[in-house]
Amino acid sequence: MKKFAKSRFNFLSLALLALSASANAQQYDLLDLSAQPLNNEVCATCHGGAGVGNASVGGPSLAGLEPWYLRKQLENFRAGIRGTQKEYIPGNEMQASVARLSDEEISELVDHISNWEAVAPKPRIEGDASKGQALYAACAACHGASGDGNEALGAPGLAGRNDWYMFRQLKLFQSGFRGKHPEDTAGQLMRPAAQALENDEAINDVLAYINTL
């Protein structure tokens, strides 16, 4: 182990030194909220550094999401098609976060997030992947045999997504908190599919299989 005596401060970039001047001057014009830059710092608070997801606050990984799906969900949240049920707090938070976005801002966000490097999430759920493989046959019809999704059917890729998040979404689909809205056509298709999974064990099994994809 390294001796403590040696100093190890090592900045990769000296640009850091230039930051301190602007740092204290965080001034906002009264009521001019448009002066705030739209940036990924807001996303990263919930969705984790580099968009890897954070189960503690219910923010799923964004890195690696298909741009079309990202856009659709941002629009759904903005329109209140998703996230308006008070019972599901993370959805609520997401809804409020994007409610004021313009079309251009959504496009910027989609472009920006699409550039994030996909990171394979750590599995959090334990299940029987071999049992899950049999159950997945029904999912494969829309989401693809290798879980890479199908835009024409509105079915996102599942491989590389957070299993804990998919668990929650399956439960939300089952209970009707997601997929019940008349304008959520893809969600309406997903609802009966989620209900076909009989219990939490079945959900865990199918997610364990998806984790292998």
Partner: protein, 529 residues
């Protein structure tokens, strides 16, 4: 149908309640309300040619404390802060300030005056919080007395007296009067193991009589202590009408009305003159070059004898390596940041739930409460706003900032409302305490800590049960408090008394002391168990 309880049965019930009260009292003596002492870590001065380096994540009270103390000892210190300001939850807003709620950013429109501020997070410093007071003194932060309890404020409950607000003094006087009467009756009939002698009996009866302002026959017949209906100076004072105990019992606000002057909220409390963030500014005066803002940490990696932190700033990535990392990032956000912490450490971080506290405030066009003899203090209501706070500063100025809601435990009710709904709810509920409230206040601001950017939560919630830490929770707590490599988790989140600035300071002291004791012992191979 209501069950009628006889006086004797009532006394039996009270005796039972008294027993649990005594247990609670003993609990306080045993440290539920902790007393702290000032014991600033004594850090040996670093050799200028070989300064230890420390990267501190988060410029809240714990991070600033750590930075300040270690800088004093000659360490090379850098503080990385995600927000555009320092302070964390120690946030004071004034004219033009941003309230950075995700999805609901607000700009404070209060008049631009020194006394027109709102403490969105901590707002009072108990006199037992000696470390906060120590730093106020050392950093030149001027203090004034904070008024927490004021008997001229109101108690309002929809279930009591048809929802009519009554002054706390009326409530307290009547409640104490009836309770004293019951005690007197109970005492004379009691069979005590060791009966008092005649002198002691008389002394005790005098105390009880005095406590409740009872008549000579030890009956409560009303008291002028609750206030006069008329007279009092040039004419004889006439007591307000007595309120029946039966009516008082309809509210659950008894402990709020009677108990605020005890424990941590009891006198004396302090506040910094000009806002709680004067403490933050005091620290920053000593750290003019060390704090960097708008920095999003994306990875914290333990290394052999050090820590590597990667962060983003304005679209660029940076890496910084240091001997030590003191990390106050809320545990529920840290779980979303890449790291190589041990599994049990991560498990502990994931366990802690985030607090839901909510506060809101208005600018009052006039200090209407002062016309009602209210100068500081808190009115209590059973409605979701729960509390109305009157500023203990700026007396007799034209305007003031009034706290219009404070929900510490379950703030989601307000958090889930839109800004307009939050303001309207505060107006509608405040009107029940102060008629015409709606027309007297303006420019409302709301702080839903659950949605504040870079925080997403108020103080950490460790316990799932009110009865204390479970063994499992204790294990997780101890795991997270220990260093992981040269990384320390700090902040009030890693104390047994979350939410207080005192706790944040003590967490930093604890980590520094642990670091020093490891240094003194030399760096041993393997992991501490």
């Amino acid at each position: 149908m209501k069950k009628i309880v006889s006086r004797r049965e009532l006394l039996g019930l009270i005796a039972k309640t008294g027993a649990s009260g005594a247990v609670l009292g003993a609990g306080n003596a045993l440290g539920i309300v902790p007393n702290t002492y000032v014991d600033i870590p004594q850090i040996p001065q670093a050799n200028p040619s070989d300064r230890p380096s420390v990267v501190i994540l988060g410029a809240g009270i714990s991070g600033l404390t750590a930075a300040y103390e270690m800088k004093k000892a000659g360490y090379h210190v850098v503080v990385l802060e995600a927000a555009g300001r320092a302070g964390g939850r120690s946030l004071t807003v004034r004219h033009g300030d941003l309230i950075d709620e995700v999805g609901n950013p607000q700009i404070c429109e209060f008049d631009d005056e020194p006394h027109m501020y709102f403490n969105c997070g901590p707002a009072r410093i108990p006199s037992s919080h000696r470390n906060v007071l120590h730093y106020c003194k050392e950093l030149g932060v001027e203090l004034e007395v904070f008024i927490n309890e004021n008997k001229e404020t109101y108690i309002q409950d929809d279930a009591m007296l048809d929802g009519k607000p009554i002054k706390n003094r009326e409530f307290t006087t009547n409640a104490r009067g009836f309770m004293a009467e019951i005690m007197a009756k109970n005492f004379t009939n009691a069979e005590l193991d060791e009966p008092f002698d005649e002198w002691e009996t008389e002394a005790l009866m005098r105390v009880i009589r005095n406590m409740g302002d009872l008549s000579e026959d030890m009956i409560y017949k009303g008291s002028t202590r609750g206030g006069y209906s008329h007279g009092g100076f040039l004419e004889h004072g006439h007591a307000l009408e007595t309120i029946a105990l039966r009516d008082l019992l309809k509210t659950g606000l008894f402990s709020m009305a009677l108990g605020q002057n005890e424990g941590e909220t009891g006198p004396i409390l302090f506040q910094p003159v000009g806002g709680m963030d004067q403490i933050v500014k005091g620290f920053l005066r000593q750290l003019p070059e060390e704090v960097f803002y708008n920095v999003m940490v994306t990875s914290v990696m333990l290394q052999d004898g050090g820590v590597e932190v990667v962060y983003e700033h304005k679209g660029m990535k940076y890496k910084i390596e240091a001997d030590y990392c003191f990390n106050s990032i809320p545990s529920h956000l840290m779980t979303g940041i890449e790291n190589n912490f041990p599994d049990d450490y991560r498990e502990a971080m994931h366990y802690i739930r985030r607090g839901e506290a909510y506060k809101s405030a208005f600018q009052a066009k006039e200090r209407f409460w002062e016309k009602d003899d209210i100068f500081g203090g808190i009115s209590w209501t059973n409605q979701p706003i729960e509390q109305i706070w009157y500023p203990p500063h700026g007396m007799y100025k034209e305007k003031g900032v009034i706290l219009s809601a404070y929900n510490y435990g379950g703030g989601m009710h307000f958090t889930q409302l839109t800004q307009e709904e939050r303001i309207e709810t505060a107006l509608r509920q405040g009107e029940k305490v102060h008629p015409n409230y709606r027309n007297l206040v303006e420019k409302g601001i709301t702080i839903a800590w659950h949605r504040m950017n870079h925080m997403l939560g108020c103080s950490a919630r460790w316990q799932k049960s009110r009865s204390g830490f479970t063994q499992e929770e204790e294990r997780l707590f101890q795991t997270l408090r220990k260093p992981a490599g040269n990384h320390y988790t700090i902040g009030d989140q890693i104390t047994k008394h979350t939410a207080w600035q005192e706790s944040a300071i003590l967490s930093a002291h604890w980590a520094i002391n642990d670091m020093l004791s490891r240094k003194a012992g030399g760096s041993m191979p393997g992991q501490r168990v």
